[in-house]
């Protein structure tokens, strides 16, 4: 199962890339754990999570082709 993860704003400065693919993440909590292992600085970062372009606040089960986005506080306008 493959999940796409997107990074925006200051988070992209931490990860150094705009997106990556994760193979073994059954839910969004697992995504976070794996990412924080890979990018320890993420643990201190403030961000929201979106699953398939919808904001989520609780853990969600993932399906093949899902997109998870990590987004720092918005600063448009």
């Amino acid at each position: 199962m493959q999940i796409e993860v997107l990074f925006f704003g200051s988070l992209k400065d931490i990860t150094g890339e705009a997106s990556l693919l994760l193979a073994d993440a059954k839910d969004t909590d697992t995504v976070q754990e794996q990412l924080q292992k890979r990018y320890p600085a993420l643990a201190a970062a403030k961000y929201f999570t979106a699953l398939n372009k919808e904001m989520i606040t609780a853990n969600k089960t993932l399906r093949e082709g899902d997109t998870v986005a990590l987004m720092p506080p918005f600063s448009g306008g």
């Binding site: 997107l6 925006f8 704003g9 200051s10 979106a50 398939n52 372009k53 986005a69 987004m71 720092p72 506080p73 918005f74 600063s75 448009g76 306008g77």
Partner: protein, 147 residues
């Protein structure tokens, strides 16, 4: 997953004043409109600890922003008696003094246009996945945060 085509709110670089004039002019044949409420965001040359802002560079989660904008628009049309609503937001670099946001709300009477425009600007600031990075004259940069 629905695949809806939404009007693209993003434009590359600054929004020119001529674009604003052209959009106003386009509404001259909508003679049910009595009031236009317009909000423009302009990049400030703020003095930061590390230098002076010379530009803001905008990025966005475009697909999510378009869907969110569509939802905001629907909810404002449901709530207020509006004739039309247009939003244009810059992506990429916008220099200090240039326009980065153009919000245009029209209605038969002023109260609806003014209230909806105000609510729309707040929604854009707090609900759209858009990020601004302030570019300083020292070649350093700072990520903006809305308040």
């Amino acid at each position: 997953m629905k695949e809806t085509k939404h009007k693209n709110i993003f434009v590359n670089g600054a929004i020119p004043a001529e674009k604003i004039a052209a959009d106003i002019q386009k509404h001259a044949d909508k003679t049910g409109i009595g009031a236009h409420s317009i909000f423009l965001g302009q990049v400030r040359a703020d003095e930061k600890e590390k230098g002076k802002v010379v530009a803001i560079e905008y990025t966005a989660y475009e697909e999510m922003a378009q869907e969110k904008m569509h939802a905001i628009r629907e909810s404002l049309f449901a709530k207020h008696d509006l004739s039309c609503m247009h939003v244009h937001h810059s992506l990429g670099a916008v220099k200090a003094g240039e326009i980065c946001l153009f919000v245009f709300v029209s209605s038969p009477h002023r109260a609806a246009a003014i209230k909806a425009c105000e609510e729309l600007v707040e929604a854009i600031k707090f609900e759209l996945p858009v990020w601004g990075k302030e570019i300083l004259d020292t070649e350093q940069s700072v990520w903006k945060e809305n308040r």
